[in-house]
């Protein structure tokens, strides 16, 4: 666990909207180590997907600006040419998308789509590639891999498709896999299966996983470390235990509190007022969460707040957490 696979420093990703760039990911820094699941959580629109795509440099480069450092095994991906990047994509870093139906080419058999990865990154013969593909399908728990090999995405159920996505991502044994909300579109029972699958694969390959989700309960099940994002910024980083046992940032705490628990029946749930600001009209000068906790006086927040280390590996943005209490309780 000494050397991180991926080390992100001050990554800022800006989108061009009406001739101006607005950062959707704002000075994000974190690292991912081998055999580790780092979860990124936050409400919709917090910049989680933007972050994931930035790492892979999959944004439309005409309308996006990526600044900062994305150090993958010591090399900075930001400076890579497209060609170099193509050597990283799929081979070194795999990605799993949220909507497995649209993310697969409807006109290609499942097998071909997985094999494609191998074609471009390995020198395996056609026969070998096929064997490897079937092996992959078996690995992700597809019951009839040889049959599925020749099937088309629409012939598979949602869970199966997501498994295919996973096998595409891990085809070349990448050292890092980014999973962008891999279970959101799935049923509870299947969600569990997929998560366990990811974990078991990780056990075999020791790869690092960045798991993006908005569901804290998923995080609790699988993650080692958690990054809580809000409005493009990291507001809290810590290990699972730290975050669940001792959540500090008001946002983290609110999120946890608003989960309808299975125990406390029919009690009122906590509500976070307001909503995530859009990247265009957002006040970037002050604590971005402050508008949603109006009962905390302004001076309890820092001016352009920073991350503070409150415990080893546990960082929190802004000092307002010290003043935070739940309204009405």
């Amino acid at each position: 666990m000494e050397k991180p696979i991926l080390q992100i420093e001050n990554l800022t990703t800006s989108f061009k909207i009406k001739e101006k760039y607005y950062p959707a990911v704002d000075h994000v820094s974190f690292s991912v180590f081998e055999n580790e699941i780092v979860a990124v959580v936050g409400e919709s629109g917090c910049g989680k997907s933007a972050l994931a795509l930035s790492i892979m440099r999959l944004h439309n480069h005409q309308r996006t600006k990526i600044e900062g450092e994305i150090k993958y095994k010591e090399r900075d991906l930001v400076d890579f040419s497209e060609r170099q990047m193509n050597q990283v994509r799929g081979k070194e870093i795999g990605i799993i998308f949220q909507e497995p139906l649209t993310a697969l080419n409807p006109l290609m058999t499942v097998g071909d789509q997985i094999e494609e990865n191998l074609t471009f990154h390995t020198k395996l013969s056609k026969e070998k590639r096929r064997l490897r593909t079937i092996e992959l399908l078996t690995q992700v728990g597809i019951p009839y891999p040889t049959r599925t090999y020749d099937q088309f995405p629409h012939e598979l159920s949602g869970g199966m498709r997501q498994r295919v996505m996973i096998s595409i991502a891990i085809a070349c044994n990448p050292s890092l896999v980014i999973a962008d909300e891999p279970t959101t579109a799935l049923d509870v029972t299947i969600q569990v299966q997929i998560l366990e699958l990811l974990k078991s694969i990780q056990k075999d390959t020791k790869m690092g996983i960045i798991l993006i989700t908005h569901d804290l309960s998923v995080v609790a099940e699988v993650a080692d470390r958690i990054i809580v994002m809000y409005a493009g910024q990291v507001v809290e980083i810590g290990t699972v235990k730290q975050i669940f046992a001792n959540p500090l940032h008001p946002y983290t705490r609110s999120l946890l509190k608003s989960i309808p628990s299975q125990v406390t029946n029919k009690k009122r749930l906590h509500v976070i007022d307001g909503m995530v600001p859009s990247i265009v009209n957002m006040n970037r000068e002050r604590c971005r969460f402050s508008p949603r906790i109006p009962w905390i006086s302004r001076n309890a927040h820092e001016e352009s707040p920073d991350l503070h280390e409150v415990a080893p590996e546990h960082l929190v943005r802004c000092t307002c957490y010290k003043h935070f209490y739940f309204k009405g309780s």
Partner: protein, 321 residues
């Protein structure tokens, strides 16, 4: 699949029946009949005319004529052409292959033009190449096809003399020889190219939109995430998916072209079905007119079926059981 085709054929029967009723009614509505022209000759006595009409069955009540006509068609007999005096099927047979050939070459040229243009302007949209293609599209859309064809005929047919200006083949060469086919091709190129240059516009536009559509689709992003170079992403994923709806239009396209040859055949004096149709309308040769309309109606239905079959073959999402 076979069941599907069978069902489609069964569905065609009432459609064709309805078409036949409409066509027949319209033909009967047309002023004059095939003997009007003959009846202009003062040397022919009214009795003789009556005799001729009787012989042609033109004096029967309409339902009787219809019955005779439709039962003939059911047996593949479209009746006899009044002007050509031979079975309609023979009259049409003399020309249909010319038309099919013209349509085919037009189709090929259309796609030969459309696919590179569509792909280039779709892939590099908003670059100069896209602008050029789009500009061409706008112009092509706004140009009346026959003006364009006439100008082509004048420039390349008459002024430069590169292409023949009428007919479907050089009468001096013998049928079946290589020179014969070459001559056929030589005759067909100019009309086909003139049509294709204009007709391609729709396909180019469609293809362009499809490609722009597809290149931002999620599956293209997945492909990029596999580290496939951009060019390969186009060849392996985007082109295929974008060409699919166009392939599916093939059936419609063919029938559309066959129907649309009326103008181009007239301009280039190309002896095909379209020209036959126009002259038959003028000559009140109903049996030919109705047969052509029926035939093309049937062809359109077949084309639709073909399109559906193609679509089901190329698009795994649509499976006809």
């Amino acid at each position: 699949m076979w069941k599907f085709i069978l069902r489609r054929f069964l569905v065609m029967i009432p459609q064709l029946f309805l078409l036949s009723v409409i066509v027949f009614a319209l033909a009967k509505q047309m002023p004059g009949d095939a003997l009007t022209g003959v009846s202009m000759d003062p040397r022919i006595s009214p009795e003789r005319l009556y005799e001729l009409r009787e012989k042609a069955g033109l004096n029967d009540p309409w339902y009787e004529q219809y019955r005779r006509w439709i039962s003939g068609i059911a047996q593949g007999d479209f009746g006899k052409s009044y002007t050509h005096k031979i079975p309609v099927s023979e009259v049409i047979a003399e020309r249909i292959w010319n038309t099919v050939f013209l349509a085919l070459i037009t189709l090929i040229l259309t796609y030969l033009l459309a696919i590179p243009m569509g792909i280039a302007s779709g892939r590099f949209n908003d670059t100069w190449i896209d602008k050029v293609v789009t500009g061409y599209n706008y112009l092509g859309f706004a140009t009346p096809i026959f003006i364009f064809a006439l100008i082509m005929l004048f420039v390349f047919g008459f002024s430069l003399g590169w292409f023949p200006t009428g007919g479907s083949v050089d009468s001096k060469v013998d049928a079946g020889t290589f020179a014969y086919y070459l001559s056929k091709l030589h005759h067909v190129i100019l009309p086909a190219l003139s049509t294709a240059l204009i007709a391609t516009v729709g396909t180019v536009q469609y293809l362009r939109n499809e490609i722009i559509d597809n290149k931002y689709k999620d599956y293209a992003r997945t492909a990029r995430s596999k580290g496939i170079p951009e060019t390969q992403i186009y060849t392996r994923h985007i082109f295929r998916n974008s060409l699919l709806p166009i392939a599916a239009f093939l059936g419609y396209e063919i029938t559309g072209l066959v129907g649309g040859t009326v103008i181009i055949e007239t301009i280039f004096s190309y002896p095909g079905v379209g020209q036959l149709f126009v002259s038959s309308i003028g000559l009140r040769d109903f049996s030919v007119v109705t047969a052509i309309v029926m035939m093309l109606g049937f062809a359109t239905l077949l084309g639709t079926l073909l399109s559906d079959i193609i679509l089901s073959v190329v698009d795994p999402r649509i499976r006809i059981e």
